[in-house]
Structures are given as C-alpha cells and as structure tokens.
Symmetry: C2
Subunit: 180 residues, 2 copies
C-alpha cells in the first residue's frame, strides 16, 4: 500500500542547502513574458529541478512582487535570477559563458522535443511572450528551436506547462546518465 | 535559419477533426481540485496531447465557467469530460472500463516518473487538491503512485505543471513506439 508522505518526510532542501547544491547547467530565459503567474511558475519549477539561473528580460516582471510570489511560493529566494533590458543582451551574455541557447517555439526547422539530444552542454532555454512567442530576432541568435509536439486544436501550451515539460525532459536525461 | 510558424501553418485540428481523431487511451482525473485555472489548464494540455477524457470530481469546477475558459481557451469544446460526485466512484467506473488508475503524488512506495514503464495499458492519472493532494482513500484504490522526482526546497510542483510533465512522459513513449 502506498502511504502519502508528509512534508517533513520529503527531505527537501532548505534555502542554504539549495544555494550550496550542485545545479543543473541549465538557464531559463523569459523573453518579454507578460504574466506574473508564469514568472512565478518559472521560479517554482526551477527550484524543483535545481536549475542554475533564471534570466528575466524586457517587460518580464521581477521579484520582489506579490503576484510573482503567489505562484513562486518562496522560490524567488532560492533560484538565482538576473534582469536584462533586452533578450538579445541576455543571449550574448550567455554565449560568453558558453551556454547554448535554444528557443522553445514553433518554427519551420524546429527539433521535436522527443528528438532533442544536445544534453551534455550548458543549455539556455528561451520562452517567449504569451501572445507573440519568442521574438524572431531572438530566434535568429539562438542555436536552434525546440518544439513540443502537439496534436490538438490549440496553437500552443501555456508557458508554465511548456517550461515544466522541457525542463523535465532535460532533467530526465540527467537522471538517466547519473544512474549509469 | 528557423522561421516562426504562423497559426495557419501549424495545421492544427478543428473541433470536428478533434472529435474524430484517434485519442491517447489516457484519462485525467481531478480529485477535488480547487483552482479553476488548473481545471482550464487540464483541458488545454489534454487538447494538445489528444487525451481520451477528463473526469472532474467533487468540488472540482465544471464547464461552462468563465474562469475555466480563461485558461482552457476553448479546449472545453474539444476534450470530452464527465463529472462524478466522488473520486472513488470515478475510479470504480474507470476500472470497469479497464483503465489502470495511478495517482500522481509523493508516497512511500511511489514509482519515480523516469522509471514508470506501464505504457501499453489504458491509463488514468489522478491529480489532487492544491493543498491536500490526492486523498489517501483514493490512493488506496489506485494501482500505484507516480512521483515526479524533485530536488529543491518546495513541497511539490503546481498541478498544471505536473499534468504537463506526466502527460508528456506518456505521449513521448507513444511517439517513440509509433515510429518503430
């Protein structure tokens, strides 16, 4: 029989342990994301998967912010974040740090997420505005585009959900490699 | 160079095509989910991944509902849904239809999502209340518990994000098998 675990039985990290923990070499870039709920979700998901950093660009809201906190639930104190005025500057900065930037979008030469294999590098994942997506100028400076295969009627998944899925896919590979 | 695709270039299904399309033999069960945003997200994600049905239980809100629609963006017209007063009744009904129910939770004998292999069956995935999770009584009638490995400071991921991740993991396997 499965018994649900209580909070204290989960052995989650505290804030100091999080700061000192080895991170995934994975950076999330938010390109002019309008919804503070999506920003908060980036922090909460980034915390769960121990990512390196979140880079907030352009109109994307930054902590401290009550609306971000509603979804982040404190994860703005754990996941490191930086702000850049433009996403292009953020990408240039990441390339200097040897991160390979991929946009998550629908594009004509995109790599379906289930065929994405560039796992060993330092990866930066760019997620775009709720309506306009990742700016074409930003896509042009990325190394590639990752697309989540979708078969229904809607244009795309919600950004928070897309972030969860793409981060999981990379974490999953990292778990598979660490157990080899 | 990657060029972003316009809406009309995505060749998404229309409502009638969705109704007639072959679905994933996958049902999502919401066990007393409080947030209408999470309910809407279940529809939007369920639409993208062509799932069979969503079963809304207990206090979980049902369409038509403005708040659900804000997140579902019309997907309440495509994904089939049913309501049950209790999640236990929903699970009994699913077992009669030969669906194998799994709760998505943190539990002492849970299967880490990256080690989950029961892909060939008809699967029902139960997601629980934002604060209390899946009820222990409901876990007791499930065949197993799936847990998303998490390494940070927070108790768990948001339900919408968890749904995206677990559904993707099952869809990914189905894509891998269909290309064999």
């Amino acid at each position: 029989m499965n018994q649900k675990l209580k909070n204290e039985e989960l052995n989650r990290l505290n804030v100091d342990e999080f700061k000192n923990a080895k991170k995934q070499t994975l950076v999330v870039v938010l390109d002019n994301v309008r919804s503070l709920n999506n920003v908060g979700s980036a922090f909460r998901t980034g915390d769960a998967f121990l990512i390196e950093e979140i880079i907030l660009c352009g109109v994307t809201g930054t902590p401290p912010n009550k609306e971000i906190e509603k979804t982040a639930l404190g994860a703005t104190s754990t996941v490191k974040w930086t702000y850049f005025k433009t996403t292009l500057e953020a990408i240039a900065h990441l390339k200097q740090r040897n991160y390979t930037p991929f946009a998550v979008e629908q594009a004509n030469k995109s790599i379906p997420l289930n065929e994405f294999t560039s796992y060993d590098e330092r990866i930066a994942l760019v997620f775009g505005n709720e309506v306009y997506g990742v700016d074409q100028e930003v896509i042009d400076v990325c190394v590639g585009v990752i697309e989540i295969p979708q078969a229904g009627t809607k244009h795309s998944l919600n950004i928070s959900v897309s972030m969860g899925i793409v981060l999981w896919e990379i974490i999953r590979h990292s778990l598979a490699n660490s157990s080899k």
